[in-house]
Symmetry: C2
Subunit: 199 residues, 2 copies
Amino acid sequence: MGKLILEMTMSLDGLTAAPKVSVDHPLGEDGERLHGWLGIDGSPVSETDREISAEMFTDTGAFIFGRRTFDVGEGPWGDDGTFGMPCFVVTNRPREQLVKGRTTFTFVTDGIESALEQARAAAGDKDVIVIGGAEVARQYLAAGLIDEVRIHLMPVLLGAGTRLFDSGPRLQLERTRLVESPAVTHLTFRVTGSPQKTR
Amino acid sequence: MGKLILEMTMSLDGLTAAPKVSVDHPLGEDGERLHGWLGIDGSPVSETDREISAEMFTDTGAFIFGRRTFDVGEGPWGDDGTFGMPCFVVTNRPREQLVKGRTTFTFVTDGIESALEQARAAAGDKDVIVIGGAEVARQYLAAGLIDEVRIHLMPVLLGAGTRLFDSGPRLQLERTRLVESPAVTHLTFRVTGSPQKTR
C-alpha cells in the first residue's frame, strides 16, 4: 500500500487561496500569484519547479479532492482532465462518474474514509494524494490518515483567504526533503505522530 | 539606518505559541517543542542552529517586543537580561526603565512608531529586530514598516495557539536565504512590496 500524501501550495501566512474563490478565479481574486511557481499567473517556470510538479504524478495512483476544488478546476483542467488517473471527489451532492480521457472523476458522498478506500483500491501499490481543498485536507489530517505533507511554500502574504491548517490536531512532523527554486520552497514532511509532551 | 526585521519561530500551522501562555509556560502549555531548535525543550542544538541563533545579535542594535513577551520572558532571560543591548517594550502600562547588565528595557506607551523611533536612535546604523508577540508583529507588518521577515519554521502542527499572520496586509516577499538544520528550516524573506495584480 502506498502513502497518503497531502500536497498543497501555501502562502507564508498559511493560506491556500485568496478570498472570493470562483470558477473565474479558482485561487480567489488576485490569488493567481500563489501558484506562480506553476506559471499560472504567467510567471516563467524554472526547471526545478517543472520537475517537482511532474513528480506529483510519478508514484501516484489516485487523487482525492473536494467538490469545490473540482467545480473550479474542471474548466482549467481541460478535455483530458489533466490527472490521467482515477480521481475521487468528496462531496455531499451525488453525481454520475465523469470520464475525460484517462482521467475518471468519481463522486463520493459517504465520507473521506470511503473516498480513501476507493482511491487506495484504484491506486494499488502507488500513493494517493489529497490536493485540497483545505477543508477536505483538514478532515484527513484530523482523522490521522495523512502519512506525508508536501507544502510548496510561496513567499507571499495574502492577508486573507482560505486557511489550510486551522484548529487541527497536534502532530509532530519530520522534514524529509527540502528543494528550493527561485519562486518557491518545496518542503516534504513525514508525519511521525503526536508531539511528545516536554514536561 | 539598518533594517527593521521581524524574526520569529513559527510552526507549520502558523502558530508562535501553544494555548495558555503564562509565566510558567512562555510558549503555552506543551509549547516548548516549538523552540526545540534552541534547546528549550531539552533537545540537542545543532551547530547550524547555534550559529543562526548567535547571528540574531551580530548586526543588531536594538530589539522590540510586546509587554506579554517581556512579562513571560523576564524570568527565563536571567539577571543579565540576555539581549545585551537596548530593548523597547510596546505596552499600555507605563513602567520605569529596567536595567539588567548591558540590557535595558524601555517601556513605550505611545505606540509602535514611537518604539521604532527610539529603537532606531539606540541602534544607530545597526538593525532593529521585532521578536513578537504576534500582535506587535502584525502591527508593524500592517504599518508597512518591516523590511525583512525571518521565520524559523518548525516541523510541528500545534493545532491551536497564537497565530502569527492573521488578517494582515497583502505583501510580496522574496526569499533571500534558506538554511536547513535537522530541527528546523530557517527562511529569510525581503519584503518587496504589495503583490502585483495578475489580472
